[in-house]
C-alpha cells in the first residue's frame, strides 16, 4: 500500500567561489537619447542574468529596463568577468555594473548641478531625469544631461568598475578565515507517497523557502527554484551514470539515463524569504545552484517518514527502497523470533 511521508532539509550555500580572485568588471555609458549601454563579460545561459543585470543598471540610473542595451560575452570588447558560474552573476557582476552605473551617474550630477543651481550631492536620478532631491520639478532630462556632458563639459558620462568579493584568507594555524563574502539559505519540505510493495517513490509536493537577498526579479527566482527542484528530484530518485567493469558508460543517452519529465514533477510552492544583504547590489545575493541542494535530502527524509527506511546512496530507485523495506521487515521478524 501507499504510505505518505514528509521530510525537511535545510542548506546554506556560498555565493561566488574562493581561493583565487573572483572579479567582474563592467562599463556603463549613458547616451544622448537617455538610454544606456552596458558592457559585461558574463553570459546569458537562460537563467535571466542579462534581465537582472539590466534591471540593476536601470535602477541605479533612474531609467527603465527597456532603456538599457546590454552587450555581453564578446571577449573582444567586453570587460573581464570570471563567468556565469558559482551562482555569482547577480551578486558579483551585479555589483560591478551597479558601481559602473554609479560612476556614470556622478558625472551626470556634476554636469547638471550648476545648471540646476545646487550641489551634485543634492541630486538624484529618477524617472529618466536628473532632479533635485525633494524638488522633482527642478530637473533635467537624463539624455539632455548626457548630451551636455559630451558637448559642453567635455566629460562623457561613462563609468567603468570592477568588483572582487572581499574574503579573508585562512589562518594557517587555526584554519579560520572568511572564504566567501556572503551565503544564502534555504529550507525545502517534500511530501511523498512510497508504495511499500514496489518501493516506488512519488513526490507529491515540494515547498521551497529560499533566501536570495533582494529578489530583483521574483519570477526569474521562481524559475530558478523550480528548475533546481527538478534537478534535485532527478538526483534523488532517477539519475545515475552507470559504468561497466571496464569503465565504459553504459547509459550515455536519454533512453536509459532517466531524468524527470513533466509527469515526475510535483506541485511546487515557492516562498521567497524577504532579506537584504548590504554587500549585494540593491541587497541581492544569488539563487542558481542552491535551489538543487536540499531537494534530495528532503525527499529521502520523507521516504524515511513514510516507510521507516534510510536510503544512503542515490538515486533511491524503487529497487533500493524495496530492498531496504524488505530488510527492515526481516530484521523485525528476527527480533520477534529472538524474543
Amino acid at each position: 500500500m501507499k504510505r505518505r511521508g514528509r521530510g525537511i532539509a535545510c542548506m546554506w550555500y556560498p555565493i561566488g567561489f574562493t581561493v583565487a580572485a573572483n572579479p567582474s568588471a563592467a562599463t556603463v555609458k549613458v547616451n544622448e537619447d537617455g538610454t544606456a549601454t552596458v558592457l559585461t563579460g558574463t553570459v546569458e545561459t537562460g537563467q535571466g542574468a542579462l534581465t537582472v543585470l539590466s534591471q540593476i543598471a536601470a535602477e541605479e540610473l533612474g531609467i527603465a529596463m527597456d532603456d538599457i542595451h546590454i552587450v555581453s560575452g564578446d571577449t573582444d570588447v567586453a570587460p573581464m568577468d570570471t563567468g556565469a558560474i558559482a551562482s555569482r552573476t547577480t551578486y558579483v557582476t551585479g555589483n560591478a555594473i551597479r558601481l559602473a552605473a554609479e560612476k556614470a551617474k556622478l558625472i551626470l550630477f556634476d554636469v547638471a548641478a550648476p545648471v540646476l543651481g545646487v550641489k551634485p550631492s543634492q541630486l538624484e536620478a529618477r524617472d529618466r531625469k536628473i532632479q533635485v532631491k525633494n524638488y522633482p520639478q527642478r530637473c533635467l532630462g537624463i539624455g539632455e544631461v548626457a548630451h551636455r556632458a559630451q558637448v559642453v563639459m567635455g566629460e562623457p558620462a561613462i563609468g567603468s568598475a570592477s568588483w572582487n568579493p572581499p574574503t579573508v584568507a585562512m589562518d594557517p594555524e587555526t584554519g579560520q578565515g572568511k572564504p566567501f563574502s556572503t551565503y544564502v539559505y534555504a529550507t525545502q519540505v517534500a511530501e511523498v507517497d512510497v508504495d511499500d510493495e514496489t518501493g516506488e517513490v512519488e513526490v507529491l509536493r515540494i515547498v521551497a523557502a529560499h533566501d536570495c537577498g533582494t529578489a530583483i526579479n521574483p519570477m526569474l527566482v521562481e524559475g530558478q527554484i523550480e528548475g533546481g527542484i527538478s534537478m534535485g528530484i532527478g538526483f534523488a530518485l532517477q539519475e545515475e551514470m552507470l559504468f561497466d567493469k571496464d569503465g565504459r558508460h553504459v547509459n550515455p543517452n536519454l533512453t536509459n539515463y532517466i531524468m524527470p519529465t513533466s509527469l515526475d514533477m510535483p506541485e511546487i510552492e515557492v516562498d521567497i524569504v524577504p532579506s537584504f544583504d548590504p554587500t549585494g547590489p540593491f541587497g541581492a545575493k544569488g539563487v542558481g545552484e542552491p535551489t538543487a541542494v536540499p531537494t534530495a535530502a528532503a525527499i529521502l527524509n520523507a521516504v524515511h517518514d513514510a516507510v521507516g527506511v534510510r536510503i544512503t546512496s542515490l538515486p533511491a530507485t524503487a529497487e533500493k527502497v524495496l530492498a531496504a523495506i524488505k530488510a527492515k521487515r526481516e530484521g523485525a521478524t528476527k527480533k520477534l523470533t529472538a524474543v
Binding site: G48, G223, E226, G227, N253, L254, T261, S262, L263
Partner: protein
Amino acid sequence: MTDVVLRVNGRERKASVPPETTLLQLLREHLGLTGSKLGCDVGDCGACTVIVDGKAVNSCLMLAGQVDGREVLTIEGLATRDRLHPIQRAFEERASLQCGFCGPGSIMSAKALLDENLDPTPQEIRDALAGNLCRCTGYTKMIEAIQDAARELRTEKSARTAP
C-alpha cells in the same frame, strides 16, 4: 532520391532528398526551417517535435518520404508578422523557457494539445509535455503558460462564434 511534395506552414514545398533523410533533416537542411531542434536524434528528447496532420510527432523519427502529400506545421508557422501565437506569448510572459532549446518542441506539443482540447486539465497538459525533456525549468511555468494560452484561445473562440 525521393521526391516529396508537402505543405509546410500552409505553403506547398517540394524537395528531392536521399531516401534516408528524416523529416527533421528535410526541414532544417533542405527547407531552411531551423526552428525545430536536433537534440538526441532517437526520439527521446522531443526537441524536434512538429505537427503532422494534426498530431505531434518527433520529426527525427519520421522519414521525409512519409510526409509526402501531408501537412506539416513547425514552430515557424505559429507567429504572424504582427503577433506571436498565444502559446508563444504566454511562454514569454511566464518566463516558461530558460535556455530555450526544448522550447520549439514543447510549444508544438502544447499546440497539438490545444488544437484538440481547449480546456485541458493540468494532468492532460503534463501528459502532452511528457515527451519533451527540459533540463532547466522543471516544467512548472510551461504548464502555467499553457493554461493561460488555453484561456485566451477559448476567449478568442467564443468571440468569433458569438452572434
